[in-house]
Symmetry: C2
Subunit: 501 residues, 2 copies
Amino acid sequence: MLDDMFDYLENIRDRPVWQPMPGKVRARFCEDIPRSPTDLSAVHEEFLQDVLPFAAGNVHPGFMGWVHGGGTPVGMLAEMLASGLNANLGGRDHAPVEVERQITRWVRAIFGFPETATGLFVTGTSMANLIAVIIARDVALGFDVRNRGVAAEKKRLTAYASSAAHGTIAKAMDLCGLGSDALRLIPTDSRQRMNMYALEAAIHEDREAGRTPFLVVGTAGTVDIGAIDDLARIAELCGRHELWFHVDGAYGALAQLAPELAPRLGGIERADSLAFDFHKWGQVPYDAGYILVRDGQLHRNAFATAAAYLRHAKRGLAAGAEWPCDFGPDLSRGFRALKVWFTLKVYGTDALGAMIGRTCGLARYLESRIAETPELELLAPVELNIVCFRYRGEDSDRLNEQIVVALQDSGIAAPSTTRIGGRLAIRAAIVNHRTSCAEIDALVEHTLCQGRALEARVMERAAAGATELSSPNAPGDSHAYCRISHTMAGEPGGSTTVAAG
Amino acid sequence: MLDDMFDYLENIRDRPVWQPMPGKVRARFCEDIPRSPTDLSAVHEEFLQDVLPFAAGNVHPGFMGWVHGGGTPVGMLAEMLASGLNANLGGRDHAPVEVERQITRWVRAIFGFPETATGLFVTGTSMANLIAVIIARDVALGFDVRNRGVAAEKKRLTAYASSAAHGTIAKAMDLCGLGSDALRLIPTDSRQRMNMYALEAAIHEDREAGRTPFLVVGTAGTVDIGAIDDLARIAELCGRHELWFHVDGAYGALAQLAPELAPRLGGIERADSLAFDFHKWGQVPYDAGYILVRDGQLHRNAFATAAAYLRHAKRGLAAGAEWPCDFGPDLSRGFRALKVWFTLKVYGTDALGAMIGRTCGLARYLESRIAETPELELLAPVELNIVCFRYRGEDSDRLNEQIVVALQDSGIAAPSTTRIGGRLAIRAAIVNHRTSCAEIDALVEHTLCQGRALEARVMERAAAGATELSSPNAPGDSHAYCRISHTMAGEPGGSTTVAAG
């Protein structure tokens, strides 16, 4: 099994990025619950045949669809060790909890947080954002709100984030009972950064209306284009208005490890809380989200509870002053810290920072390829490692949507789509450490190839007098696509000559 | 690394269940964040020296401290595969999501839920309970509460659980904004089951006071003694009063797999939602919690959101009608389903059910050993696999607390403590599939040994005219303990003759 995974990772370029599951494979997942045992080797064989070939593809260097990390063999091995130890990091006194505490010290060091800061592994930034919103809620309303509920309080809280902020902020407002309407989405400037004047005005307006502003969320790396809010100005504003300053740095925060990018995050060290994922730019296998809170006492007050079966003892296995379950919603918690510990130790933060810088270089290289290609158009500034562009043409939204599906189907590249200023964009998020100029070139070439083929088809049909265009998503459509095989994607150092961005 | 873990699991009985970390080991976790790379083998060596020997011990058959599963090599290998694939199960169209859907079908089959039921992996039951409370909240207040917040609603919701229910129910009420005061803790009968008359009365009283009862949480396996509420009667009551019926089956729900235990869970098939963990009795490595919701549409309505970067396409990688992120708070989600898939396939549900039944048999065996030992006293009925007892003696709470710390320090057995009717109990939760009569005998023998030694010490001191007893938790105390080595714990089939319970 281990050899199979090493082979998979080593030869990932020989595989398609992604391929649709045939119906007969999908049907095999409908078999009944197994009452009798099956040989491990047979189950592994099933995994090799039915699961492995049909993964999402984010291990592959051609995956650029969403902000997913690529994983590493080191992370995989560490997860195997963690799983064998089978540690529950809810609390108690054992080495796995010490490893998580060490990561907290390291995360504090990365972001310049004080020793009073506490941290916690969670699934991902969605959960980390929820934790931050709950702490901010409880600080604003007083910790007694935990017992009394938000309806018992007279204050009507309002929060602020840019319109480019991730939807999990609104969802956190919903889940914690404040309601997503209480989140004001502040307009952005031309680079999708929160407009600070609009923010100040919105706060003023809410205060005038008798509401209680309590939280501003700055984004470090927006999901659509990787924009970074002016964190220093938000910190200053939050200080002045006594608001909680949370940074959603889901993927962008770790740019802090790249010396040339870190200045762009200036102000992050002044946040009251910071959420980010190690499984994105950190390349740690899923899932490994993190929440860091400046004032550990507030963090604890928002989550600690007392229960006889969770009583901390002074000695023995139930000892330990601070248990992780007192800092978040989870009592059962796997050993996420170990894969991060291995990743940081084996690669070192310098190399991780260099890799993060390299992905941004690749984005600039893609930007330059787009600039020199008349059929392509850049739709948003390249802030970090995300490039939003499109193939120019009539009925452009539909055309580019078809191009993206065709690229995904081809197995060569897997970008995704998003909307920029109302227009559908091909979105390439370059997160995987395996991605090189070769994959960028393949993306450009095959976008052109697919775009031309689709346009030719439209013209052919028009010439043939076809009055009705088929649905863009009809299964039969793929036959019209430019026929390409994933083995054409090229390897780094192959025949395609490229200059590193 | 893999060989080391196999050796670890194979020879776990040669190790102490748990041992305290020496100060010098703990200090090594204070080293600075590593900027430069380190050889993987060196980091692994560090893991072997500083982490592995100081784990919590739940892999060990002598661990009975909390309701932790023991893990399996199969689960470990599956987690390695999942980690190599590095799948994010937030959404999109790939095989890992199909594996999770298959688990949903299997979980429905286990608990007799209809095809409309939806499910989701989460970290653990704490999170699963939170999800259930949020769905119930939204159903009671209308889904618009997601936007407007609970304070905008006139209804004041109240929920009900037994006083033996897990603290995460109250925490869920806190986190979702309703406040933990709105949870009524209903008294229990002599077997720690919710008193149904008291429940009915509490609902009546709240209605009279203008409040809106919305949720009853039944517990399948209370944390202290493993009691199971009368789920069928709660189902009937909830139907009559139109209340949401949630079952917290964190560890007890999987008793459904054991034919002799399943009838005790009668009524669970009528729950609106059910939370449980695969990492407890299911022996799946941490973490693998699960939430099952009868009406998938309500589940979806409570969690789905719309975002451009999460747009579902009709074809390609972004296809798939139902994305897991629409059913819970997580967008980044590891591939928990794979270790459950491997566990259920390789062992089969019959064998898992037999193993669960066996742990309950061991609890009855421990009960019989306590009954035949005059120095020991049972403090609560043995409902499933948890046994609460104590060593009789003066200053019993303090004495038993010292016994438990001494047992943990000895490395032979690791029970925990809880309070039953105000009295400190030694709590043995027999969850690990590796536990046998030998470990039960060792627990009894060494409880007696420690109890006698501690009592003798008190008498010695009294005889010597010592006027001041040392603190029960002073580090020096351990020198007075009965000296035992973990190698005395015995192996199954060894010299200790025992009858399987």
